[in-house]
Amino acid sequence: MQTAIKRMIFFAAIIAFWELGSRMELWHPLIFPSLSSVFSALAEGLQDKTLIYDLIASFKRLAVGLAISLVIGTLIGILLGKSKTADDTLGAVILALQSVPSIVWLPIAIMWFGLNEKAVIFVTILGGTFVMALNMRTGIKNVSPLYIKAAQTMGANGIDLFIRVIFPASIPYVVTGSRLAWAFAWRALMAGELLSTGPGLGYTLRYASDFGRMDIVIGVMIIIGAIGMIVDQLIFQRIEKSVIKKWGLES
């Protein structure tokens, strides 16, 4: 309760400062637009459906890119977790690639696929794949040897042991990996859209900036941030919490 009140006062102060500052012309509206003009820009975008189309376009790419990155990441992670040789060789490469921001791949993606949607999706895939792979790998490696021994005494081995015990036992890491993959893919997608073509939230952001519509710029930024927060807190953190509880990992 205390925290909620503190937060409300804090945000109210920021909003009041923002709106009053704009009205008293402490800064030029081209540098930073007023809150009310941002809201009316958002309302306008929703009414003529351009923002809706942007949202749908961005989410389509995200869905495709994230799905592919989760599948590839899971497969690479399993390979790294199960094979020492793969871990020593490919694992080192994945670890290095993980530290390269995925937007860096855009120029090469444009060369390969052209300045179109495919290049953006490619960058989104790279954004999520490596972090998913590394988490999956850790998950497989951290499966309690006790589970494996117990399953072996019950006649499980080989692929059966993997599907029924090792993979489910590493689900907590799969969830964490997916959550991070989503966050990385979302950032990669926005960067990709900013630098390539539309429609999409990122593209609209640049387009609005080119035409000096700072109210739309701020509005779209608020949407991007809000989506990121909602998906993370409402979906992933909830799943993560319930999995941690069920898998008995609570400290």
Binding site: Y147, K149, A150, Q152, M154, G155, I171
Partner: protein
């Protein structure tokens, strides 16, 4: 002889790559339906021996025969219960117990069989619970039901009640005794508790440390239930203690030596 342990040796390499004897020349014959405890201080290799019988650990030399067949890998003829329940947290109690049965029978048949054993450990009302919703004692009972559900000839138990509180432990002792009398399984029960081994078993194999060897093979000839025979229990306890005293002193002096040298 049902279980035959012949000349089993087990070595492993320590940090300096020197071979260390864990088990040395273990010979043991166990009759079908016997309840045998393997008793010894920590580090005597009793859990390693059980793990070898389970097929989870390889011997350095020697062999183990069950019903005339050499053991080389784990099998459903030997059910194992560990110190931790080792239940799968993503499965319900029922799903955990039917885990070993999935491949060989229809779901309905497996569930009927699982229910029988869950009722035997008095958990018939917790079928759809998840392991994290159960107490430690209940989890261990599910693990026992799971091992029994595949109807193995032999039940291997590695300090199964070691992590439980005293009251829960004595309750489970009674339950295990009843299950043993009802199902006529051959049970190999690893423990470091003298009173536990006397309470439960027909025969106690006392083991010593460094290297792990069999010191004494003691037959417990007290009628069941054994609570009423306090005098006889004490006699056997003293008898075992005379063997273990030296071993425990050995462990203590080694620990002191280690503490002083570090």
């Amino acid at each position: 002889m049902f279980i035959q342990i012949n000349e089993v040796n087990k070595q492993y390499n320590d940090k300096e790559n020197q071979p260390v004897d864990v088990l040395k020349e273990i010979n043991l014959s166990i009759d079908k339906g016997q309840f045998v405890s393997i008793l010894g201080p920590s580090g005597c290799g009793k859990s390693t021996l059980l793990s070898i019988v389970a097929g989870l650990t390889k011997t350095t030399s020697g062999q183990i025969l069950i019903d005339g067949k050499t053991i080389s890998k784990p099998g459903k003829d030997r059910g194992m219960v560990f110190q931790q329940a080792a239940l799968f947290p993503w499965l319900t109690v029922m799903e955990n117990v039917t885990f070993p049965l999935k491949k060989e029978m229809k779901k309905k048949v497996a569930e009927t069989s699982a229910l029988k054993y869950l009722q035997m450990v008095q958990l018939g009302k917790y079928l759809s619970h998840y392991p994290h919703e159960l107490s430690g004692g209940m989890q261990q009972r599910v693990a026992i039901a799971r091992a029994l559900a595949m109807n193995p000839e032999t039940l291997l138990m590695d300090e199964p009640f070691g992590a439980l509180d005293e009251q829960t432990r004595s309750r489970l002792h009674l339950q295990l005794e009843n299950i043993w009398m009802e199902t006529k399984k051959t049970i190999l029960f690893v423990t470091h508790s003298i009173s536990e081994s006397i309470k439960l078993s027909d025969r106690i194999i006392v083991m010593g440390t460094k290297p792990g060897t069999i010191l004494q093979d003691i037959t417990v000839d007290i009628p069941r239930p054994r609570e009423e025979y306090k005098k006889e229990i004490l006699e056997i306890e003293d008898h075992i203690m005379s063997y273990l005293k030296k071993e425990i002193d050995k462990v203590v002096s080694e620990e002191l030596e280690y503490a002083n040298s570090h």
